[in-house]
Symmetry: C2
Subunit: 331 residues, 2 copies
């Protein structure tokens, strides 16, 4: 098994990507091809001699920056690590692609290079989030900002296959993100999607609200990519804001500072549970290949876990399960 | 000045509404008319004898429940506290209306009873949220889930007038909630709104992302009511989730428990800063009258602060300022 890794993607690339890839190669015993500027990658690789046999470098001459417009950048930079990495997958020279780079560019290039799975029209980004009861999967968090109701039904089937085979959840419950629980609540798009989901074989529990996103009320949360992206970014930043507020208040009092001194271990465990990097990045479902997208701020652990997640997705043949599930719609 | 208060609205009505109204009457020296079932209100009022001269009761025979469909409920229950309360405003028998009841019903009934301010087509719910730098105002958080770009421009002008006169912010900065900072990011609706805002006289800083909602990056955050509602509910629940996670982790260790024992005061101050009830509820802007909507979970403090906010809005003639601002569009 070979995982193709965009060595140039992410705020702390290539350093953390190379380190994370080296850890993953050792821990999961997978081959890794790092795609990027050799002059930048090779000196970093020397620090990881015990992963040497498992890692190779594939040269790219261009890098797509985080802020570049997605469609334009992949047309202009055909020799970028993202475009070349996905070409390797297309040519059968790798089994999965990971990038913590420009999400829009990865989504566009994946759709164009790999094409869609039979029966799917649009890819969706699925992300695992921690909840009070364990984890939930939210799809879509930004690939498809103006979807049709049928796309959300298919996201539901994709997410079900994913959760079933990667997290062992049989018949996971599915909720539709809206602004009230009644079927009549929400935009025309949400109401029509509600109807489609109700008629499907999914374990659909109806509309859920923003407050249910982290309550663990359902296993899968469906939404359009615009709302999902906003909700995800609000929650990422709010967790940090709450943290900052709290630390500020602790520092404001003598007793608080004494208290804080005792809290080290609890803080660390708490942060670990809230940390997206523990859960292995976001998964681009619907494309004809295994593609994992890391957060731009991915650290070494996040890169390692994302590669581990890619390996599981390949081993469990999640894409084959998705094609089966989608072929049965209306059948 | 007389504030009309829906005594029956909210999860803990009428108890907390009556207590909050009594506190507000004493603190702000305003007259209050409590609209609701007299048999339920009057025994509670006996506990607040020192507010007696400032509070009267206006009988209603019906109550709109939190879960009832908005439009239907106000058609069917014309003798509800919400409908009768707003009629009092319409007839000039009160200067502002407060309810912590069914938000949809309050929005519908306000629009129908009071009509819109000259030049406005749709009301928007504005809510003040705490940020790392102070406060920001988000509009719309649920009144208008399928707005036109022009509605958002008008929300911007309404919010500007509000922040300027209530919070003394001159030329507050305005951001448009999207999924990327570039003008090209987002749905067609967001892009067209971006263009309108760029051409307006507002202090428009461009698109902002979900992560900026609590960063204090801009004073006013514009969004459609669907996205705003989801974002608000996600953030309310996430603050609680972070809290619960954290407490769970503290309880999991001996040192954590010792630490927690020292944290009482810091926790309390932290919660106070994060607490929406401190900021006096949401404001329904655009209708021809002063309407404040409380959270369903409003406590006595939230009710009192919301009534104080209503008083300020009347005193500063915010609606006159809004009409002036909107009359100048394109002028």
């Amino acid at each position: 098994m070979k995982i193709i890794v965009d060595a140039m993607g992410g705020d702390k690339a290539p350093e953390v990507v190379v380190s994370g890839a080296a850890s993953a190669a050792r821990e999961y015993r997978v081959n890794i091809e790092l795609v990027g500027i050799p002059e930048q990658i090779e000196p970093l690789l020397k620090r990881h001699k015990n992963s040497k046999d498992l890692i190779s470098v594939y040269p790219a001459t261009e890098v797509i920056q985080m802020s570049e417009p997605a469609a334009l950048s992949i047309r202009k930079k055909r020799n970028s690590s993202i475009c070349l990495g996905l070409n390797l997958i297309k040519e059968g020279k790798g089994d999965a692609f990971f990038s913590a780079g420009n999400t829009g560019a990865v989504v566009c290039a994946s759709s164009l290079s790999l094409g869609m799975l039979p029966g799917t029209e649009r890819p969706g980004i699925a992300i695992v989030v921690p909840t009070l009861k364990g984890i939930s999967l939210i799809i879509d968090v930004g690939a498809n900002i103006d979807p049709k109701p049928m796309h959300l039904l298919k996201y539901g089937l994709m997410a079900e296959a994913y959760l079933c085979h990667i997290f062992n959840r049989y018949q996971p419950s599915v909720g539709l993100l809206s602004i009230g629980e009644e079927a009549s609540k929400g935009t025309d798009f949400v109401r029509e999607t509600h109807r489609l989901l109700s008629e499907s074989r999914l374990n659909f529990i109806g509309n859920i609200e923003g407050k249910d996103l982290f309550s663990g009320r359902c296993d899968i949360i469906l939404c359009d990519g615009f709302v999902g992206n906003v909700a995800l970014k609000v929650s990422e930043s709010l967790a940090e804001t709450v943290y900052t507020f709290f630390k500020r208040h602790l520092k404001g009092s003598f007793l608080g500072m004494i208290g804080a001194a005792f809290l080290g271990a609890s803080f660390t465990r708490f942060k670990k549970q809230m940390d997206y990097s523990e859960y292995g990045g976001a998964v681009l479902l619907g494309v004809n290949g295994v593609v994992i997208i890391g957060h731009g701020r991915s650290n070494e652990l996040a890169v390692k876990n994302a590669i581990g997640r890619a390996k599981e997705e390949i081993e469990h043949k999640v894409n084959e399960r998705i094609v089966e599930a989608i072929s049965q719609i209306g059948g």
